[in-house]
């Protein structure tokens, strides 16, 4: 059992949980994730570890209510228990000295991006962060990301804050003006990561994306998380979750992510008496 030590609403439908998980808190590295199961009936949900406190033995998770599983998770309060938490899973982000690194985060992708940006800054990289959200209210962790970046560019789809447009607009403009970073890390919704990869492709800039296919076990046992990278089958849970953004077959992944759309609807209906 894993106790929820703290719960905060970061933005509409976006929550931050601090969950007791001693072993994971001690071991995890930026870029790794956990899989949790709220109770006996619920699904196994993968979530990136945002931060951890090895002393208190807690990990921080940030999630947006999307389907049934996250709705159930959001219904838990401080002091409540999560039945199973397993991790840390996946390979940690390759944090090293690249030079200048652009961290592009969309939506709640900022949360998993923060430890990576911090790690990059600690390795004496110049970190430029580009953060995008649909609207002003959905911008989260601004202060944190500021604290590790030498520059932060903010975009909102509706222009309510920062620059009006997408993260890729900001990125593209920079690249076109002759700026060439040594690496780009993109975390966010799949179309966004794809767009970032397309933006950097002509410049041949190393671009890392963090994939989030549907998973079950997270140990390489089911193959449900398989993705095509450079024409090869990879299991995102053990071979990833981060891959070379220029090699990923995004269309296939987008399709696979939609596999249970109709079932989600069915589940939600069943929960409303």
């Amino acid at each position: 059992m894993h106790t929820i030590m703290d719960k905060r609403l970061l933005a509409p439908n976006v929550y931050r949980l601090e969950v007791g998980a001693q072993l994971i808190a001690e071991r995890r590295k930026p870029g790794q994730f956990i899989i949790l199961r709220v109770n006996e009936e619920s699904e196994r949900i993968p979530l990136t570890i945002v931060e951890s406190d090895p002393v208190a033995g807690t990990i921080v998770l940030v999630f947006q209510v999307m389907g049934e599983g996250t709705r159930l998770l959001a219904s838990l309060e401080m002091g409540d228990e999560i039945r199973d938490v397993v991790g840390p899973l996946g390979h940690p982000t390759e944090i090293s000295h690249y030079g200048t690194v652009v961290c592009v985060a969309g939506g709640i992708g900022v949360a998993p991006m923060f430890p990576i940006a911090k790690g990059m800054a600690d390795m004496a990289n110049t970190v430029i962060s580009i953060v995008g959200a649909r609207t002003r209210d959905l911008l989260i962790l601004q202060e944190e990301i500021q604290s590790v970046s030498s520059e932060v560019l903010i975009t909102t789809d509706d222009g309510t804050f920062g620059r009006h447009g997408f993260v890729t607009d900001a990125l593209k403009e920079r690249l076109e003006s002759g700026f060439t970073p040594d690496a780009v890390v993109a975390i966010g919704p799949l179309p966004m990561m794809r767009a970032v990869a397309e933006t950097t492709r002509p410049y041949g800039i190393k671009t890392i994306v963090s994939l989030n296919p549907i998973m079950v076990d997270g140990t390489g046992m089911c193959g449900g998380c398989r993705v095509s990278v450079g024409g090869q089958m990879k299991f995102a849970c053990v071979d990833g979750p981060e891959f070379d953004g220029h090699q990923v077959n995004y269309a296939e992944l987008a399709n696979r992510q939609r596999m249970y759309r109709d079932k989600e609807a069915c589940k939600i209906r069943s929960l409303i008496p």
Binding site: V55, N255, R256, Y260, K263
Partner: protein
């Protein structure tokens, strides 16, 4: 051979064997009823049927069935009890040979094992051994007759078991029986391996697996779920945490795919995913259980093994129009159990044989809509002896499907070999292991089950687990300790196999006598058990009465664990303030011994040992470990140094035990604490939690100060000046509780001593606990920082002065040292009024007479 010639002398009162009587058929629920639900298909023998069936057995003297059984169960013996109507006797006999009879009775392929060999089968139908095995196991469970096996006396050895499939469960049970402490690490949220995530409920009710697991728990086996070895922790971590051996039973869980176009379309599953969703996640009860699964109207399963059969029959239970099982050879070659093939056919699975998939077709919306197949014919036999299927050109066809399940095999996941140095695999990805013992290429690591054989059977996995358990027991109890045992066994006769706090005074006296100590009584009266005056060890409840002759092998292993955990080419110091012959000093000495001819693990050798420093008897050890070369400086504090240490501690106002030199029975010098002027949390039972709760800030301060000093002496001094590490780390290899003192200061709260304090002092409520834990650490870091600053400020002076007084120090008794320090103080104008003395003014000694031991605790004096 005439069967009757082979028959045993029989009790004349018993009826004659009835081999010609027709074989009893296990009742099954009607196919068209059972293929709609997940309840068990076969309902088992009644008592009458079981007796009748077992009466068919000839009780052969040389039973062929036993040869057919991978674990050699004494089949006639347990059948005979059934024939006599003694079901309890039967199950007890059976359990001598197998740990999982209720499971094996259900899932073993008896028709290719024991039953195939049964002599009765030559003329009539073979005895229904599997059904009888299942019958007695079920009888025991249903009649509440299950007894938890007797667990042997604790050996003090700890074994980690990776994976809770049949191999892991068996190994765990066998080792627990022998008195070893077993912890099972399982990646998933439920124990059982393939038995819970793969084999469906209708073939093996999960309740049965759960009971087996409960039985293990009742034997004291700890099961840690949600723990992925290789990610949550590594095998090397396990050794570092004090496990003495590791068994890897992680199975063959990595699914193979066909490698044909369209395989990643929606609606295409691996059998593992399909079965896991169904069995483990209970997707068949969606939406009550939230995990979805897609089962359309037309399903195709690819493969011909048990997995394929299970997937097909599971799919069938979701009520589709059709389930086709597509296999590239003919039915005769199908590796699935005959019974399952027959069940599948009865229930309505369509078999499409000599057919291979070529491509999955898209419905235009990203879902599978069909499969293009090609017909096959059987050609020449291949390496496996089975005839190789060859495609028939131009025979392509399209079969309309909306769900596909690929069940063409699994191989072992590479996570464990990838994260374990020295653990070698074959080119098929299976672990290299000795067939008879499970020994892998890494010392202390054993393996068995599918991870070694590739996907095989439950009974083989169980058999491998059993064999490995015996080998592990042997490894733990004999070989590993051979050297120590040879040296100490006679004299100690099992003495140190008892945990130190449980030793009686009589035992201690006997030991001292056997070692030739004159006047052992007075020896003990001098509190000699507390030779280990290591300051922070005072906080170790288990070091209450450490004896000088502890098993050095354990220490050698810790040293090795510490060495292995270091990054490549990092020079580290292993610092031990241990005195006398215990601790790392001894460990290194034993390594040294081994260097001179006594055998070592093949990949572990001491290349050289050089003495660095007389004062502290530091040695530099160059070790070859698993192909890499490491230089480790081991700073062993001898008795003199300990005196210095305690004197310095006193001068700096750091809690400690004051020490005096006393010769040990072996002739070494040891320092003995004469005045308990420190904090000793000696007996946790005697100290109320209340005390810990009230006093923890004080205790944390003391620990921090002591550790600052220990770190300082260990990392920043010595003839070779500064140690280079990648992190601000010092390695203190010492007693088990403090063994992993190689964490950066900011992470110290993970150390055993802290965990101990946390556990004692913190409230149970998790939220409050987390908060207090944070306070703990802030407190620690503050105290550590202050003490470190204080030490640094004075150290240069102290060391310089000690160097000039080295002669005096070396021959010192406590008195001489005091003189030396007196000079020191004069030279450096220290304030002779130590901080400790001032602290005494606010502390009162509390003697805990309640437990009748000299346990000293310092309690902060309440202000009047």
């Amino acid at each position: 051979m005439n069967p009757s010639e082979n028959a045993v002398e029989r009790n004349p009162e018993r009826r004659k064997p009835q081999p010609a009587r027709p074989r009893q058929v296990m009742p099954e629920r009607p196919p068209l009823e059972r293929n709609r639900d997940f309840a068990e298909v076969a309902t088992g023998f009644t008592a009458e049927m079981a007796i009748a069936e077992s009466e068919r057995c000839l009780q052969c003297k040389k039973p062929l069935c036993v040869q057919g059984c991978p674990v050699g169960i004494d089949i006639p013996a347990f059948l005979r009890f059934i024939a006599d109507g003694d079901f309890a006797g039967s199950i007890n006999r059976l359990k001598e040979d197998t740990n999982l009879p209720a499971i094996c009775g259900r899932v073993c392929p008896q028709e290719t094992q024991c039953e195939e060999k049964c002599i009765v089968g030559k003329r009539n139908q073979p005895i229904a051994i599997g059904a009888l095995e299942r019958f007695v196991a079920d009888w025991e469970r249903e009649n509440g007759a299950v007894k938890t096996p007797v667990v042997g006396a604790p050996t003090g050895k700890r074994v980690a078991v990776v994976g809770s499939g049949p191999a892991g469960l068996t190994t765990a049970g066998e080792l627990a029986r022998r008195g070893h402490a077993v912890t099972v690490f399982e990646a998933l949220h439920e124990p059982g391996g393939v038995l819970v995530y793969g084999i469906p409920e209708f073939r093996l009710p999960k309740e049965i697996v759960r009971r087996e697991v409960d039985g293990l728990r009742a034997m004291g086996v700890e099961i840690r779920l949600n723990t992925i070895v290789g990610r949550s922790l590594t095998i090397d971590d396990m050794f570092a945490q004090g496990f003495d051996a590791v068994f890897v039973g992680s199975g063959a869980g990595l699914p193979h795919f066909l490698g044909i176009p369209g395989e990643n379309l929606n609606g295409v599953y691996s059998a593992n995913e399909f079965l896991t969703r169904m069995n483990l996640m209970k997707a068949f009860r969606f939406p009550d259980y939230h995990t979805p699964v897609h089962v359309g109207k037309k399903i195709a399963v690819f493969g011909g093994g048990n997995t394929a059969m299970d997937a097909a029959r599971t799919a069938l239970r979701m009520g589709p129009e059709s389930v086709k099982l597509i296999y590239r050879r003919s039915e005769a070659e199908m590796p699935a159990r005959a019974e399952e093939i027959h069940h599948g056919r009865d229930e309505g699975v369509e078999f499409v044989t000599l057919t291979a998939p070529v491509e999955f077709l898209d419905d235009g919306k990203g879902w599978v809509a069909g499969v293009k197949i090609i017909k096959m014919e059987l050609g020449e036999p291949d390496a496996s002896g089975r005839r190789r299927p060859v495609p028939i050109e131009g025979s392509e066809e399209i079969i309309e499907i909306d769900t596909a399940v690929i069940a063409i095999g699994n191989s072992p996941n590479q996570l464990i070999p990838q994260t374990t140095k020295g653990l070698e695999t074959t080119r098929h990805g299976t672990l290299i292991a000795n067939e008879a013992t499970g020994e892998t290429t890494k010392t202390g690591v054993f393996a068995g089950g599918d991870v070694v054989t590739g996907a095989a059977t439950v009974i083989q996995a169980m058999g491998a687990g059993k064999a490995a358990a015996a080998a592990i027991d042997d490894f733990l109890m004999k070989r590993a300790n051979a050297e120590e045992l040879r040296q100490y066994r006679e004299k100690l006769s099992g003495f140190f196999l008892v945990d130190s706090p449980r030793r009686t005074p009589e035992e201690r006296l006997a030991l001292l006598r056997s070692l030739g100590v004159p006047e052992p009584e007075s020896f003990l009266a001098k509190r000699l058990p507390q030779w280990d005056a290591r300051v922070d060890e005072l906080l170790d409840p288990s070091s209450l009465d450490m004896m000088p002759v502890h098993v050095s092998h354990a220490q050698a292993r810790y040293v090795r664990g510490a060495i292995q955990s270091l990054p490549e080419d990092v020079k580290a110091r292993i610092f031990s303030a241990k005195l006398g012959p215990t601790g790392v000093g001894e460990a290194i000495r034993s390594l040294y011994l081994r260097e001179k001819g006594i055998s070592l693990p093949e990949d572990f050798a001491v290349a050289s040992v050089t003495l660095l420093d007389d004062l502290r008897q530091s040695v530099r050890v160059v070790v070859q470990d698993g192909g890499r070369s490491l230089t480790v400086d081991v700073v062993r504090m001898n008795a003199d140094a300990e005196i210095v240490y305690s004197a310095v501690a006193e001068e700096l106002g750091i809690a400690h035990c004051r020490a005096e030199i006393v010769p040990t029975p072996k002739g070494d010098k040891a320092a003995v604490s004469v005045v308990p002027s420190g904090v000793r949390l000696s007996d946790e039972g005697a100290l109320s939690d209340e005390y810990f709760r009230e006093q923890w800030p004080f205790l944390v301060d003391k620990v921090a100060e002591q550790e600052a000093l220990a770190d300082f002496l260990g990392t920043e001094t010595g003839p070779d000046s500064y140690t280079i590490t990648t992190e601000p780390v010092s390695v203190v290899a010492d007693n088990p509780l403090e063994m992993f003192h190689y964490l950066p200061v900011s992470n110290r709260a993970n150390e055993p001593v802290f965990k101990f304090l946390f556990a004692k002092a913190l409230p149970d409520a998790p939220v409050a606990r987390a908060k207090t834990a944070r306070d703990f650490v802030v407190r620690y870091e503050t105290a550590y920082g202050a003490a470190a600053a204080r030490i640094k400020e004075h150290w240069n002076g102290i060391e310089a002065a000690l160097a000039t007084r080295k002669d005096a120090v070396e021959s010192c008794s406590g008195v001489e040292l005091k003189e030396a320090l007196g000079i020191l103080k004069d030279t450096f104008r220290w304030n002779p009024v130590s901080r400790l003395t001032r602290m005494y003014e606010t502390c009162i000694p509390v003697q805990w007479s309640a437990i009748g031991k000299d346990v000293w605790v310092w309690r902060r004096q309440k202000q009047a």
